[in-house]
Subunit: 286 residues, 4 copies
Amino acid sequence: MRKLSVFVALLFLSTAIFAQSGKVYDNLSLPSKILKMDRKYAVYLPPDYETSTRTYPVLYLLHGSGDDQTGWVQFGEVLRIADNAIKEGTATPMVIIMPDANTGRRGYFNDPKGDWNYEDFFFKELVPYVEKKYHIKSDKRYRAVAGLSMGGGGSFVYALHHPEMFSSACPLSAATGPLTIEDAKKQLMRTIPDVADSVVTQYYNRQSVVALVNAVPDDQKKAVRWYIDDGDDDFLYEGNCMVHIAMRKKEIPHEFRVRDGGHTWTYWRESLPKVLEFVSQAFHQY
Amino acid sequence: MRKLSVFVALLFLSTAIFAQSGKVYDNLSLPSKILKMDRKYAVYLPPDYETSTRTYPVLYLLHGSGDDQTGWVQFGEVLRIADNAIKEGTATPMVIIMPDANTGRRGYFNDPKGDWNYEDFFFKELVPYVEKKYHIKSDKRYRAVAGLSMGGGGSFVYALHHPEMFSSACPLSAATGPLTIEDAKKQLMRTIPDVADSVVTQYYNRQSVVALVNAVPDDQKKAVRWYIDDGDDDFLYEGNCMVHIAMRKKEIPHEFRVRDGGHTWTYWRESLPKVLEFVSQAFHQY
Amino acid sequence: MRKLSVFVALLFLSTAIFAQSGKVYDNLSLPSKILKMDRKYAVYLPPDYETSTRTYPVLYLLHGSGDDQTGWVQFGEVLRIADNAIKEGTATPMVIIMPDANTGRRGYFNDPKGDWNYEDFFFKELVPYVEKKYHIKSDKRYRAVAGLSMGGGGSFVYALHHPEMFSSACPLSAATGPLTIEDAKKQLMRTIPDVADSVVTQYYNRQSVVALVNAVPDDQKKAVRWYIDDGDDDFLYEGNCMVHIAMRKKEIPHEFRVRDGGHTWTYWRESLPKVLEFVSQAFHQY
Amino acid sequence: MRKLSVFVALLFLSTAIFAQSGKVYDNLSLPSKILKMDRKYAVYLPPDYETSTRTYPVLYLLHGSGDDQTGWVQFGEVLRIADNAIKEGTATPMVIIMPDANTGRRGYFNDPKGDWNYEDFFFKELVPYVEKKYHIKSDKRYRAVAGLSMGGGGSFVYALHHPEMFSSACPLSAATGPLTIEDAKKQLMRTIPDVADSVVTQYYNRQSVVALVNAVPDDQKKAVRWYIDDGDDDFLYEGNCMVHIAMRKKEIPHEFRVRDGGHTWTYWRESLPKVLEFVSQAFHQY
């Protein structure tokens, strides 16, 4: 009897202490049939993940160009910032998945040439894989996407292509794709000099955030909660302002912030607590 | 005897109290030959204004449409906010002049018809009058302009028309005038149905903030320090975003903020401390 | 009787309130026979100056080149900073005299040509004048000198020429004069192309802070308490470091600080509270 | 049974507690072929080191003369200070390696006589060893060096000899080697009375920090981020001031601080949080 009570007391104590700190793994991988290779990812597990038997909401947190799945861990300080937000109650405990989109510098989208279908991989392989592997809730309400720069573009496009998948999307300092058909053509001609007009139109319609916003059906205007943030010194100012204007004209509810700063991790480390708070408002209701 | 000594004591006391807290007068006026009438204004004097003999920098703080010189006093809490900022050292002691532009709802500019030359009144009568009446420094370095909505438009236009007059300008939730020639024509036709094209062009060139920004000569890009602030729910979102884009493309240094909120005094009371801090950076140097 | 008690109560109340805020006058002047003109100065009087009948220590606070007696008032925020330091007890109440050395840009020293004997004016006219006009103690213990840039040079040279006059000296971002005889010659030849060697030597011996430090007699090493402060981005780094080295080798006790910053008022506003605290240590003993 | 369950519970508990606080080991060692002996070192592991699987940046933190690998642990309070800085977010989680250079008092450099090649040991044996043993990132960006006194000299010389190895270097109260060829000769003659001039020159060029600074090629001026700190009462004032002057003249960006204090652990315990913050700025980007 004594044995048991000591054990229980120690278990209780250790649980209490465990509640203080989450865990990060930054070098995991999963096999992809679509991409015909293994793809890496990092994961943040909240402080009570290993001691509680419950399921958690999930945030997909996307890195920028030239970086990989370790970016939000090393530069973004996701462990400390998420731990603090959960401890303070501004964020609810959640799992954070940080996939690597970057080997070969090809990013989050399906390539127009068809040999890099990362968007397909994300929805058909990554999401089912992590939802099976971790204690993650699989309803739209409990799933969010956020990211910076190229990953901000990913956040915009994923949530506009799949509003049935995410309750919240938080593009930070986002690449917003071509602003016009002409921009789209110029971008494509860099790799496909004789690109056909039909390919340009299709690309524009799929990758221009302004075009995607303008195409949102009336009954989908409130399908996703948006938090858009871009520093006043960021070089991506035009696209983000034009998306804000397009969303206002279209009457799509969204939060928009322009704070002091540029395209830097100092800026994004300040954005992250706001992202965690914003997605948590959907995760644990208002 | 008793009357006198109590009077003296009260006078002494009142002098003493001034030293703690600034003073606001919200119903003063000056005669205007240009406008052929008396015009009202309010003034904020910093805590040490009456006990120290020195000269002060000056901020012209402009109200919005439908309001008058009492707006920043009653709704804007200028006394409490300026006193606090000065006490904390985020702002340097300054005089704040709040003119009334609004009787007849005609605003801060010279009317195209020529019967309401408020901009002339401001520079030729108001500024000289208050610089004589109060202990105000009269160099550009020590003069700033800020305002909200219609007064944000005034801040933009005054500082773009007269960059030699202001070290800093802070338009808040600003009306930015016509974005295009077509907009300008539509606006004018409300009051002048058969308006001539030359009048439209002249009006556009004088009142469109985007046009004024695009016309800034290269050697004047750093003539004025800018702090521009507009809530993400403000109905004036498009003009302010387009000015931000125009200034970025033109490489005119400026601070731009989009915070959470709309066209409300709650928003502007949060802006005011930042305005006082920003203009003080020029007033007491970096 | 009631009359009197009301009067006394009000007087007491007003005194209490007066104790919160000092006074600044920034446009005073005194006649100078030596300079054959009126010279301006500013003064800070501590919060209790007008209600107490006592005498105060005095700090002479010198502006930099291109500035005048209003610099420490407008840019240096001497009123708020001294009031706060006195209120918090880190500084003892003192009078602060800020003379204008700058009309004609000729500075704090006697010109080698003999037509601008400001140093003589300072000691023979300004000090006696203000010690008579204000309630100032006239012992060395209660007199200090501080200043920035050109005024830092003034602080060094005045206290090294007249160690019997100051208990403390605080040169900030100081101009330290010629480092070598060759430097001295070059400096003089700008205005006196055919300057005589004897004039160069005399100038070097009088104006080089390193030379003055090396010439301090053994029994005078502790005559003045020194607080020397220069930002790591300041362009006057070499002179200040060489003075620190010279003082260390000569075993002249001194405080030396290199903080983060350049030749800016942001730096000097952070220095001023330390200066007030340092000179107060002599004024009210340890 | 009881034994086992208590054991399991304690193991579980100890894992849990690690998550709160980093760990220090101060009596580890590695074999050295170059030095023909085992060399000791201490290590600090950040709070999440054992629960998360990720890689970390690394700081090499060097002790002073007369001390050993336990100095920063016992006197420097590295565990408490690093834990606090990481918790507050001023520092990013990192591994800290504290090698022992001191048995026989021979220090961090290759001895001119050739029988103590510690610098070779450091780069060829220690760095590869710890990068293999611990979860350490091995890019320059994630590697920094800091140290005090003799270890400040090590920080200077290692980063000047190997700018390709360190993103940041932080010499504290550093020994800066001979200031002149004459100094170098005097130093060498203590152990090699008939030292050849060529040996003196070689020694000066390799060990004088001022000489090394003056020899930095133009394209390497920004290769390393520098934080240099030396108390105003420190006996090593001259060398550190001369290095500051040399770097300013050479236009090598660097931070330089002179705070109040001497060659004491009180001083260095105040330096350590600044060092951790400074190196973290490179580790997690701005």
